[in-house]
């Protein structure tokens, strides 16, 4: 830390807590409190129950959780594969062409996700590319939205990669493909897992594009939360939100474990 005196440290901590608690921690605590409540008219929630959780972990909600998980895992893996491929290809391009490629990949993030959702809907509603009404249109939209993040973090990692490794490998007689699989990708692995985690978390929380696209048999969890709060079932919605949060954090934690084992430096 930059401050050394004990009093200054306490002051910094106090400022941190004053800013952090209301902005970040309190809203999450309120959701957690609401998820156990049946009424909340006083300072604290009342009529405590675990009933919302019973509802949130079976039937329609459980189905939606599975839908969300499958969507997020598929979209992140697809995004990671395309993003990494593009980043590796981009690294071999001249600077001006690389900038153009970077700009293209940032586009889905720069454009509001509602617009992305609408354009995916319009583009894939007619044969021969008729995906509307299937789960694939949701997965596709999520992939488009998160590929930008995968591409960005992997290309940042590639520029940090010391070319001495690939050159050492090449001088030892390794062909470019061998160098890619045995040297570059293993060295990029920590960034790849980090990118996968980021993509997964973003996809788990995606609502605005999903709203325009989801078919009745493929309802992700955020849509369910929105529907619940929309019809006034705030406490039931809170319980589903906590489930969504817990599931996402659990997967992210598992991914971060992979990362620590794969980081060599």
């Amino acid at each position: 830390m930059l401050v050394h005196s004990r009093r200054a440290k306490w002051a910094v901590w106090a400022v941190f807590l004053v800013l952090f608690l209301p902005l970040f921690a309190l809203p999450l605590l309120v959701v957690l409190g609401a998820s156990f409540a049946t009424h909340w008219s006083g300072v604290l929630p009342s009529g405590l129950t675990t009933g919302h959780y019973r509802a949130a972990t079976r039937g329609e909600a459980l189905q939606a959780l599975t839908t969300s998980l499958v969507t997020a895992v598929t979209a992140s893996l697809l995004a990671l594969a395309t993003g990494t491929w593009a980043a590796l290809a981009g690294a071999a391009l001249k600077k001006r062409h690389r900038r153009l490629l970077d700009a293209l990949f940032v586009l889905p993030v720069a454009v509001p996700s509602v617009v992305v959702g609408l354009s995916v809907l319009v583009a894939f509603s007619k044969p021969p590319m008729l995906l509307n009404g299937t789960r694939w249109i949701v997965i596709l939209a999520h992939t488009v939205l998160v590929t930008a993040f995968a591409h960005q973090s992997v290309s940042a990692a590639i520029t940090r990669l010391d070319p001495a490794y690939e050159q050492a490998a090449a001088s030892l007689g390794a062909r470019p493909a061998y160098v890619l699989w045995r040297v570059r990708l293993p060295l990029l692995l920590p960034s790849l897992t980090a990118a996968a985690g980021l993509c997964f978390a973003l996809s788990m929380g995606e609502l605005s594009a999903t709203m325009m696209l989801y078919p009745p048999d493929w309802t992700p969890l955020p849509v369910l939360i929105y529907a619940a709060t929309d019809r006034g079932a705030l406490f039931a919605g809170s319980a589903i939100a906590v489930v969504l949060m817990a599931a996402t954090l659990l997967v992210l934690f598992a991914v971060s474990r992979v990362r620590t084992r794969a980081s060599y430096r």
Binding site: Q167, Y264, R265
Partner: protein, 348 residues
């Protein structure tokens, strides 16, 4: 197998970093490329490895033109300053990398890895990861990795620069031993350290400003350097401007006896005298000046003496009674210990 540069020029964005280099490394020879940073020496090595493309000129390995071959098809071993060991592979996997990439049979790989680790004294560390080794050990593994593919050419790019002074002299001894054990391997050794070059090389190519300045055996370059840059860069030297006379030169109004073959009488020239051949006291070729600086270096004293506005350095066996700052002293040197450099030799 030798290396041959045939007027190799390398330029980045029109900036010439290596200017028509002509140089031949004989099979089994250790050639040091010696020069300050930015002299083009590393570029020359990278042109052999295939990591830079010459703008013009050809590179030959064993009389075969490899200029258009990609690095992985050149069959050379390379060791760089930062080791570049693969951090995700164990020591034995690092050493086996080149053999696996060439799809060598499994049994052969095991034998060759063991042999290479044995040769570099790293057999006990085979199961470790690079991050668990010291800098010197990592460099040994890097050398083992390069040797495992049994290259006929070994490129060494400042291999000892990242090590501290004591380790460096130890590794220098090791490299000399490796060279004796592998007499067929040509080595191109890039360094900015003249001690490494003088110790290890059969011949030294002195580089400066993208050009080859001089090339010869360490003894030739040290005893009779061709130009001022070589004289001062290899071994350090006193360089004083003189006027050539018959049978000697004159400097600061003093006649000095030195060989003057090949230099016209009356011409301006530079006299090169190594600091360690300069003595204190009366003798032939005497110079009188004021002591400006005196450094005790353990076994020697170094004197900086100002003679007629020029500083002359003298390395003397440790003096019992050294002169003091500001004292008037006389220095001398034997006539055949000095070399006369004609003006215009090199760039001076």
């Amino acid at each position: 197998m030798g290396i041959r540069f045939d007027s190799v020029t390398v330029a980045y964005d029109g900036n010439v970093v290596l200017d028509s280099l002509d140089l031949t490394v004989e099979p089994g020879e250790v050639m040091a490329l010696l020069g300050p940073s930015g002299s083009g020496k590393t570029t020359a090595l990278r042109a052999v490895a295939g990591f830079v493309r010459p703008a013009s000129g050809r590179v030959f390995l064993a009389e075969k033109d490899v200029t258009d071959l990609p690095p992985h098809r050149r069959g050379i071993g390379m060791v760089v300053q930062q080791y570049a060991l693969f951090p995700h592979l164990r020591v034995d996997e690092n050493v086996a990398f080149g053999l696996k990439a060439r799809k060598a049979p499994k049994g052969e790989i095991r034998g060759r890895v063991a042999e290479a680790l044995e040769m570099t004294g790293m057999a006990a560390y085979a199961r470790r990861f690079p991050r668990e080794l010291s800098g010197g050990q990592q460099q040994r593994v890097a050398i083992a990795r390069a040797l495992a593919i049994r290259p006929e050419v070994l490129l060494l790019d400042e291999p000892l620069s990242a090590l501290d002074a004591r380790l460096r002299s130890g590794m220098l001894t090791e490299l000399a031993r490796l060279h004796r054990e592998l007499p067929g391997v040509s080595m191109l050794y890039v360094t900015h350290d003249q001690v490494e070059a003088l110790t290890l090389a059969d011949r030294i190519a002195v580089m400066d400003k993208a050009r080859l300045q001089a090339c010869g055996t360490p003894r030739e370059l040290y005893r009779s350097p061709a130009d001022e840059f070589t004289a001062s860069f290899v071994g350090g030297a006193n360089l004083v401007p003189v006027t050539v006379g018959a049978g000697g030169v004159s400097f600061a109004g003093t006649e000095l006896k030195v060989a003057t073959e090949g230099v016209a009488v009356g011409a301006r020239a530079t006299l090169c005298v190594r600091p360690h051949v300069v003595g204190l006291g009366q003798g032939p070729n005497q110079l009188v000046g004021v002591v400006r600086e005196i450094q005790w270096r353990g076994a020697t004293h170094r004197l900086y003496v100002e003679v007629d506005g020029h500083t002359v350095m003298a390395d003397l066996r440790e003096l019992k009674d050294p002169p003091a700052h500001g004292d008037l002293v006389s220095l001398h040197f034997a006539p055949d210990d000095a070399v006369l450099l004609a003006a215009g030799a090199g760039h001076g």
